[in-house]
Symmetry: C3
Amino acid sequence: MAASSSLFSTSFQGVISFQNTNLCYKEFNCKYSNFIRKQSGHSNSKYLTHSRLFPNERSSEFGQNEKFSQKNVFLCRALKIENLPSFSVGNKFQLTDVIEAQQFDRDLLSAIFEVARDMEKIEKNSPGSQILKGYLMATLFYEPSTRTRLSFESAMRRLGGEVLTTENAREFSSAAKGETLEDTIRTVEGYSDIIVMRHFESGAAKRAAATAGIPVINAGDGPGQHPTQALLDVYTIEREIGKLDGIKVALVGDLANGRTVRSLAYLLARYKDVKIYFVSPDVVKMKDDIKDYLTSRKIEWEESADLMEVASKCDVVYQTRIQRERFGERIDLYEEARGKYIVDSRVLEVMQKHAVVMHPLPRLDEITVDVDGDPRAAYFRQAKNGLYIRMALLKLLLVGW
Amino acid sequence: MAASSSLFSTSFQGVISFQNTNLCYKEFNCKYSNFIRKQSGHSNSKYLTHSRLFPNERSSEFGQNEKFSQKNVFLCRALKIENLPSFSVGNKFQLTDVIEAQQFDRDLLSAIFEVARDMEKIEKNSPGSQILKGYLMATLFYEPSTRTRLSFESAMRRLGGEVLTTENAREFSSAAKGETLEDTIRTVEGYSDIIVMRHFESGAAKRAAATAGIPVINAGDGPGQHPTQALLDVYTIEREIGKLDGIKVALVGDLANGRTVRSLAYLLARYKDVKIYFVSPDVVKMKDDIKDYLTSRKIEWEESADLMEVASKCDVVYQTRIQRERFGERIDLYEEARGKYIVDSRVLEVMQKHAVVMHPLPRLDEITVDVDGDPRAAYFRQAKNGLYIRMALLKLLLVGW
Amino acid sequence: MAASSSLFSTSFQGVISFQNTNLCYKEFNCKYSNFIRKQSGHSNSKYLTHSRLFPNERSSEFGQNEKFSQKNVFLCRALKIENLPSFSVGNKFQLTDVIEAQQFDRDLLSAIFEVARDMEKIEKNSPGSQILKGYLMATLFYEPSTRTRLSFESAMRRLGGEVLTTENAREFSSAAKGETLEDTIRTVEGYSDIIVMRHFESGAAKRAAATAGIPVINAGDGPGQHPTQALLDVYTIEREIGKLDGIKVALVGDLANGRTVRSLAYLLARYKDVKIYFVSPDVVKMKDDIKDYLTSRKIEWEESADLMEVASKCDVVYQTRIQRERFGERIDLYEEARGKYIVDSRVLEVMQKHAVVMHPLPRLDEITVDVDGDPRAAYFRQAKNGLYIRMALLKLLLVGW
């Protein structure tokens, strides 16, 4: 329920501004002062100017980035500015935080993917590999997620940036110390230029972003959001299939609980003529909120119990893990559910030559290992794409387009 | 008690030398050989020259720092050297370790604060940001303290240095492995250029410094010392109020157990015409040792039960957390104590315009969140100042003045 | 038993190739495709070329290393290639992984030691200190081993490389996530250029190396192997004594369980006229497999109960810790065993002037602390040599000879 309500909540804070447009997201919560802080100092966050009047305002002491900060604009119903100065690097969005999949519309996704492709081409010790030299990323993990943490840290380092790591952030809010998330953020923003946060509570990333004067990336907040996973999934489909409009995607496995497939369905609805097939055991079927949303966006969808038939028609078979913990003591239901839809060599046989198998990993036995050797097994490339997407986001948040 | 005895112990090893002076700290324990090792190699500690006669002596193979090592001098009753060569960068102290607040007299504090101010001005990717390039700091944490660790690691990285992290150092001395602290230090000094150590035992930092041939910084050793916190507190007062002589400071909250306020009182006694107010619940009053010390140094102090009246007179209201664990099963006493002196908007109203509220953090509810927006709320700036103080100390210990 | 079977197993995968020789290790398991992947991309592992046909094949986009990859050769009975192109940097071996002590013959050891000596001479901020700039090492630790981890991370950083750390790798294979080691490796190899792995299961490193397209270093896999420890031990003997042929070595302490002494005995058998003395309590005597192996290699060995007599004759007294956990509930046997052979000042007195005391650390009381001050106490230098050996291996695996 948390995931569902979070996925469709539309109040979020100051995360995107638009250039040359006076559109604004519905209910866009104009946290102007926070936004301006991030805009004027988003990449200059290292040293606070000690100002008693504006104790949290940052100075623009790093000339290299002033071109961005001076020309950033902010359009919102509550604060409409006409005669905008032109944006020096083109008509692009300015990203200030990455909090939830809903931030990203088709144009923004496309622009980010373009940067991600550039990231793929960066060579060791080339100038590109030093884009983020001097920048410091704090990975503030309230629960361990080694895979996600290593992906972000690798992304930062591949661009020449440095990392402050903690998988022990829960210590901040421990019974003994009991600090609020907001206080922790205010402390950590003093030590770093960007915060990548993993938290166990839905909505934590949004609270962190509202507090921080530096960019925040949500690396998963409880059952809520994991937007970089959603982005890398869509990026992978585009890289593997070559397009996003008109594709047919099968979402397989636990569709009730997986935030991954829910976010993916949501983002796919941004494209034209997409068809989505839901293939899942009865106990973990896709919930109505997503189905209703797809219908409202005129996205065709269909439930099916026949994986083979669906696989033969689709461009993408997106398999997910059935999570035992969702079944409580009903191990019998779990065992029945997990064995029902396995992607194996028989599924590969009916799949089209250009189609791919994806999986957010980790994988148990819902994809058999004999699939790994097939060129259509895209899941390890998908994991690698997470690196490029995160490189792109770090670059965009720290030094702009 | 441990804190008290530690605070006034005056035997410490080889931590400061004086230039152009033949004064020496009382009971200065002249660990000459260790000192010389640190002096000649303090910033050159990377590679041991393999010498069977002096297996721990370092070579001066890094030319850039020889100017410091060649000119360092060591004066002590036990080893007085006349006709000192002049110190190339001025008549400054040479720091070899940071172990306890008592190391720092007024002149040394002033000199360190000057460097800390320089640190505030260092810009991203400027030459200053590469001062410690090639240096490696090991954070050897026997208990987690994410806030302190991140602050040190940020400081090192902001100066271009690199970091080896462990919050798991207790593993070294685990039942299975059972290594002495000294053996661990001898191993870790082989891997790094400076050790930042957090330990659960009072005196551990002193033992580490006595063993190590590279600089050691005490990042808190049990109830003993946390000297960098004391330094950043005094630095913050100077930055916020503009002076240290003649200031009025209220120390509020748990004055019996907090090593922070005890060290702060001790350092404030180095300045002239200071007046200190103690405002605390009866069960956690400031102990007599500090009161006697202040009296002996002719520092005026006063106990008060009226926070409002004190706040109206002071330059600094230094609030602290009442720690539940100090009350054992007497939760009733804890609840009574913690609610007694809260800094809220009413306290702000009576405070002078130039005064500030400080807190070592983490904060629970002893300062209400509505205070945060007031320019006089200095505690997050105080946390940030920790970064500058630690940058200054790392610079001084590794490459000198 | 696991250690024993592992030590003499001779099936390992693609870890060494030989130049200008058509010899091949017995039962060398020619995993040709994996080998070729590592050869053509061993130092170019950063970015996968997205190829549907060879999804794991790396492109040679980093010109700097092509000279190695193009000229690497692979000789094996199963795949003999004649008319080899000459290897541009001389007739050297190409290392692709470091999995077990058995990989290393006399010539390879000698060549690695030469590189390690060069590593000792690298100065801070010299060109040599940037050999691995742009390279990223992942330390994938399934159990904590802070000493080993810090040594590897220091080595990487001393050469300008960067590090991704996890001591929490067991999370990957946790009950909740349940990923296979192979899947974890496929993910982590996407984030890094080399993997240093510590695992609790014998044989895990071999499995990782067989999967990874980037080099893998075994930093200890359960009771199996810890090859970098074996290398640094032999390197230390050569550094301290000046030779390896003709030396007399006493192995003291727990010889039944310690993988260290077993590997050392094995490697010493590669040299001429070596004599080995086994000095251990009855319950932890050296097992027959090693004795038989030494005999088969015509290495003289002798068991003795007289540490003093042995010490007076040896070049090296290699002491080890008696591990309590090996004795179960027989604390009495443990106490008897651990007190039996102590290296103290009396032992030093009978030792020759040029001889040394070694120990793999951590040390409890099997070497008394009064020995530490003697120039013949080589154990902390030995720990430091671990740094140089690991620097050498990282260099060789990432950029070749």
